[in-house]
Symmetry: C2
Subunit: 406 residues, 2 copies
């Protein structure tokens, strides 16, 4: 199997963008190509990760359209769909194209454009098509409702506090404030100060602010607004090549040394345990095994905190903490930049934002910046290895990607 | 690169089916697994090719849902989208999973369920989202209109006759009549006889019937009803493994010895020549080169006759006939079973039907049956090698797969 290296990265700002989907995919792609010094090189394949460009943007054949738009014809082009894990799946497809020897140079780009949609509930309803049509969706179940249920179960089972889940959001906003590409480049403290200045209320501290029904309304009990990620636009891209040729393009190539992907029951009720993400345990073990690494070897991680409870649970199932210890670890600062294992230095889905198909790629882009030492104010000192969790459905299709310095 | 073999195939009947999409994907998948003696084996990955399950069936995460439905958890699962070439792209993804060594055993399944949709024009409008939004779609252009334009240009440029294009439909219906999985298991002659028996008209011969505006109404001038494929439901599946282990599963494994994929401009107007499918020339050459074969080595082919003109043009650009000779070759019987190079012994998209995502996989399933000698009344004697053309958009993303006996 050929070894696969990342030689270029691109990342649009995440948030409410004016440009259309093809434009933001193009921007991230061209930035990655520029970054990798592969202008005028022949790309063998292009993989686009996006969840719902047909529903959100009325475009099918998005990959074919993109290769034309950015003058990569006649490169092979495919659109990879795996819900909010479409980006991770697109990276895996690109990895296999290089690893097999079928392509020498591959572009992977993930993106989504949703904020222009004004129909109430349209985006959430579209995402809810990931749930089981008979057992779940027709009873009104959506992904936020599962996240609420998981939070309540976790808090009771492990005697944890909702404030510890809030601490994850506080940390991620703090990190996002240091990320010039983040959707929210603000701390939650700054939201509180604005609210105080506008005369909306007075709160003693940040936890009081976060427990206020007006300041932080309930979305899916017990989760409130600041416990869930926003709807964002954005795109992120990688250029991959055979690791043997990586130094031709780039002084600091990053190796993809492990990839795992695993599925779990679509019907959440059928799982052995709600608070364990079995698919993550399996796929992260695949990635560790492939890379000959262990959780203790990780210097930094990007996890899929579409809901803040998920970061806690994922930090356990990916092997950083014992079951039931993830939320407490965040509360104690172990997952902050400078802590034992920094999680989501980018701001995570909570603050960087969550343009569905972009997320899995953006996670890896952040790790590349961290491993290159290019993460500026949010740099994890000396980071040499990192891992991601990109979460599809409600945990029924998870991808974990392990990267390291070459 | 590991060599990749097909050790099992499955194929539902195509046509107007009662079952839902997940059920037909399951049926084809389980038939392929049964055929390959891989029951109770660990599948590494599952790739689902489907164009629009979200729009047609309100299901996202179709691949994650399928692996659960057919008890292949925790296999990795991804949904591959490339319009009407989604099936071919899914095979390529599965090929790369085995070729790279990332998976030992892979299931590839393509399918679509559309005939339940009653809203007039919904399916055609959905397919039209493959065209360019500004340059084409908003002016009312659809894929049938491009096919009409291509037909007129071809007939004028090469001094060909519309009757020769009709001859392709006549041949494909004749083949389809021999295929128990075909949507239309009837010759066009039998349609004419029925019309005569019902007193709808009297025609001297089949060409007169096909030129009758009532019997065969115009769809996109000069193309008429019998020159275009139907809207069909159906699914087809393959089990792939490392060729070295193929004999463990199957007595007659078939090797995938070549795969090519190439893109062309999305805007059809921007192509150098309307009557040449540049992407097919490139991708079939990639497949031939990879397999160390030439067009003259092919014993049988499955081409993408969504419109009958396409079979003529593809038979040229895939290297069987000189430019402008494809339609004439069909007229002369060179592409019939028993001819120089039998094309679409299955009945093609015209008669087997065209459940978008299923087609690319069904083409390869037909070649496997032909190469195994299992094609019964439509068997091409002594077939040892075959090639496909699976056509995405209006030719802007084409995949060609070359298979041979091991």
């Amino acid at each position: 199997m050929n070894k696969v290296a990342i030689v270029g990265v691109g990342h649009t700002k995440f948030g409410k963008l004016q440009k259309g989907l093809l434009d933001i995919l193009s921007d991230a792609s061209l930035e990655a190509i520029e970054d990798s010094n592969t202008n005028d090189k022949d790309f063998g394949s292009v993989y686009v990760g996006a969840m719902s460009p047909a529903a959100f943007n009325n475009i099918s054949g998005i990959a074919s359209a993109l290769v034309d738009r950015i003058s990569l014809l006649p490169a092979a082009a495919d659109h990879i769909k795996n819900g909010p894990a479409s980006g991770g799946s697109a990276i895996k497809a690109g990895f296999q194209a290089i690893a097999s020897g079928m392509s020498d140079l591959v572009l992977v780009v993930g993106g989504e454009k949703m904020t222009h949609i004004t129909a109430p509930g349209y985006v959430t309803s579209n995402v809810a098509t990931l749930t089981h049509p008979e057992a779940e969706r027709r009873h009104g179940v959506s992904l936020p409702s599962f996240a609420g249920l998981l939070t309540r179960t976790y808090l009771e089972k492990y005697d944890a506090k909702l404030e510890w889940i809030s601490d994850i959001a506080i940390k991620n906003h703090k990190n996002g404030a240091l990320n010039p590409n983040a959707h929210f480049q603000r701390t939650i403290e700054s939201f509180m100060e604005s609210a105080i200045n506008k005369g909306k209320g007075i709160w003693e501290n940040i936890q009081e602010f976060l427990n206020d029904d007006k300041a932080n309304p309930i979305i899916a009990d017990p989760l409130r607004l600041f416990h869930v990620c926003p709807i964002s636009d954005g795109a992120a891209a990688l250029v991959l090549c055979n690791a043997e040729k990586a130094k031709d393009y780039c002084d600091t190539p990053i190796l993809i040394s492990g990839i795992g992907q695993a599925t779990d029951t679509q019907i959440v009720f059928e799982r052995e345990e709600l608070t364990t993400l079995k698919a993550l345990r399996i796929c992260s073990n695949q990635a560790y095994k492939m890379a000959h690494k262990f959780p203790k070897d990780m210097d930094v991680a990007e996890l899929h905190d579409a809901f803040e409870i998920l970061e806690a649970v994922q930090s356990e199932d990916i092997g950083f903490f014992d079951k039931g210890e993830g939320a407490k670890a965040a509360h104690e600062g172990l997952t902050a930049i400078g802590g034992k294992i920094p999680i989501n230095p980018s701001g995570g889905l909570k603050a960087r934002g969550h343009p569905l198909g972009a997320t899995g790629v953006a996670q890896v882009v952040e790790l590349v910046w961290q491993l290159r030492g290019d993460a500026d104010k949010r740099q994890v000192d000396g980071a040499e290895t990192g891992i991601t969790c990109n979460f599809g459905g409600f945990g029924n299709n998870i991808i974990s990607i392990l990267v390291e310095r070459m």
